[in-house]
């Protein structure tokens, strides 16, 4: 590995030389410093990075923002909530996208909720079990129960689908069930929501968890999954909005430092993203807007 790194360094030096010779590049990372003209019109460029759950939504909001505020540019990148936090801290991004509440050690950031998302436990549609208690889910994920027969289902081994480290759905799931990732005995580890849907839809003995918007949308399209009720509350967007669905999460935009330290452009974008003007976009991405 060390050798490989030396070689990479040699390659770097080579390429650096080449880039230097070609007289490029202009600084573009700092071009994000927005300026407010005397007229009060916003101009400049914003860069957002973070949660892959939030990125498609923010991408759409950014397009509308650019249309209503000519002269602005909003670039949306992806990579996960942790990356959003890291990039906002490092200044690589003006705003981070985080699909969970901020952790205790993230007090240096200010979070602005823009929408809600619920996490639903999903089973294959043909699984005869109508619902699972929280104890049963914990027992399945910790490997105490490994066959559906033990909890009243068919005689078949359970395929436990877990999310990969760093995914905010995983963190929400672990936090809600008070589990640690080391305790979980997964059969399959997946990354994105769509992958979770596919895995469970293809395996009648699978159990997994994905974003509620994705689950209800896929179920309505006839994908072979069903979302489980939690504590007797049906997994629906309506129940996330009225706060009765227990397994839900806020989607946040975050900036470094106190709210006043963010640039005028960043603040106005954040305000716009949480406003009723974009609630149709939020719903179109199967999330729940904060304001109707």
């Amino acid at each position: 590995m060390c050798r490989a790194r030396i070689r990479l360094n040699a390659l770097c030096a080579f390429l650096l030389l080449m880039v230097a010779c070609s007289g490029e590049p202009q600084q573009s990372a700092d071009a994000g410093a927005p300026s407010e003209k005397l007229t009060g019109q916003l101009t400049g460029q914003l860069t957002l990075t973070g949660s892959s759950t939030v990125a498609p939504l923010i991408g759409e909001i950014a397009k509308r923002f650019e249309q209503t505020h000519p002269g602005t540019r909003v670039d949306v990148q992806t990579g996960g909530s942790s990356r959003g936090v890291a990039d906002a801290r490092r200044g690589t991004a003006d705003i981070g996208m985080v699909s969970r509440a901020l952790n205790a050690d993230e007090g240096d950031l200010t979070a602005y909720p823009i929408a809600l998302d619920g996490v639903a436990m999903i089973l294959h549609r043909d699984n005869p079990l109508p619902a699972l208690s929280e104890e049963q889910i914990v027992a399945i994920y910790t490997g105490q129960v490994t066959n559906w027969r033990e909890i009243g289902g068919a005689d078949a081994p359970i395929t436990v689908v877990n999310k990969a480290e760093g995914r905010s759905t995983l963190e929400l799931f672990l936090g809600y069930f008070k589990l640690r990732n080391e305790d979980i005995k997964p059969s399959i580890i997946i990354g994105d929501n769509q992958q979770g849907i596919r895995t469970v839809a293809a395996d009648p003995n699978a159990i997994g968890y994905v974003s509620i918007g994705t689950a209800t949308y896929e179920a309505s399209r006839g994908t072979a999954i069903k979302a489980l009720s939690m504590r007797g509350v049906e997994a629906s967007l309506e129940n996330v909005r009225n706060g009765s669905f227990p397994l839900s999460r806020p989607l946040h935009l975050v900036t470094l430092g106190a709210a006043e330290q963010a640039s005028a452009l960043a603040r106005s974008f954040i305000e716009y993203a949480a406003s009723a003007e974009v609630s149709d976009l939020t719903e179109a991405q199967y999330f729940v807007p904060l304001t109707q």
Partner: protein, 277 residues
């Protein structure tokens, strides 16, 4: 009898491979073609890619590929010539370079992506840009390009070199008029492989050229490549499958067209070289 079993086995294997290929392409065409239209190729994506087309993404993809190849081809060819023609007096150096290239060729693409993000995007300040993505891809395909070009050059018989030397041809003329034309088929095969790898790359581009699906205004703009678009639609956007399929069909067609053009350009170049002498 043993011969017959061997024959059946060979045919079986060949058919199996063709069947897998046909299945993949057939599935793609079946699911993708109904969504493919001129409008799909000529408009920008809307609703996170579920609706609209892929024009800006197509443009970004081609720009990334052009940056990659403009950098990788001269560097790759130069290094290959150095290795095959000029490293004979210093075999240790040649072996060292070759060994490092082989190590680099085996490095997973996500490592190149992280390197590109750290070096081009952050250290050199290119940010998320097509330039940064293209240069990262160039780093990734260089080992492949160099090794295949070197093999092609080495395959040229030494008699050619001796004959050229006996005629008193300058080294450069030997190279330009004799060795490179003779090695062209091998060079092109390597180039096509490199283009294929670059076009298919997702991991290395996610953190370098980025996710923005706007029409790029310059090489310093972030631009989403087709492969990332397909990945995002298939994995991250509920209801994005049909456009993911259509984009995949476009990607495959793009690859076929570029390959055909490359072969054709090589033929023409070869023709000129030989008739001009």
């Amino acid at each position: 009898m043993a011969d017959r079993i061997a024959t059946v086995f060979m045919w079986g294997v060949a058919l199996l491979i063709s069947a897998v290929f046909a299945w993949i392409v057939g599935d793609l065409l079946l699911q993708g073609l109904p969504h493919l239209s001129w409008g799909f190729l000529s408009t920008a994506p809307t609703d996170a890619g579920r609706a609209g087309g892929i024009l800006p993404i197509l443009v970004s993809t081609l720009l990334i590929l052009i940056v990659c190849m403009v950098v990788a081809i001269p560097l790759g060819l130069g290094t290959a010539v150095l290795l095959s023609e000029f490293s004979r007096r210093n075999p240790l150096f040649g072996r060292l370079v070759r060994y490092s290239l082989d190590v680099l060729a085996g490095v997973p693409s996500i490592v190149f992506g992280l390197f590109g993000n750290a070096f081009f995007s952050l250290y050199l300040g290119m940010g998320f840009s097509i330039l940064s993505g293209g240069l990262t891809l160039a780093c990734m395909v260089l080992p492949l390009l160099i090794r295949s070009s070197e093999t092609a050059l080495r395959a040229v018989p030494d008699d050619y070199r001796r004959a050229a030397a006996a005629l008193g041809l300058p080294v450069f003329t030997t190279l330009w008029r004799i060795l490179l034309p003779a090695a062209t088929p091998g060079l092109i095969a390597g180039l096509v492989l490199g283009i294929g790898r670059a076009l298919a790359e997702t991991a290395a581009l996610l953190f370098t050229s980025g996710y923005v699906d706007r029409m790029p205004g310059s090489l310093l703009d972030s631009g989403r490549s087709l492969s990332i678009h397909i990945y995002d639609l298939a994995m991250n956007v509920p209801g994005g499958e049909s456009n993911a399929y259509a984009s995949a069909v476009v990607l495959i067609m793009l690859l076929l067209i570029i390959n055909a053009l490359t072969f054709r350009a090589a033929d023409r170049w070869l023709h000129q070289r030989i008739t001009a002498v």
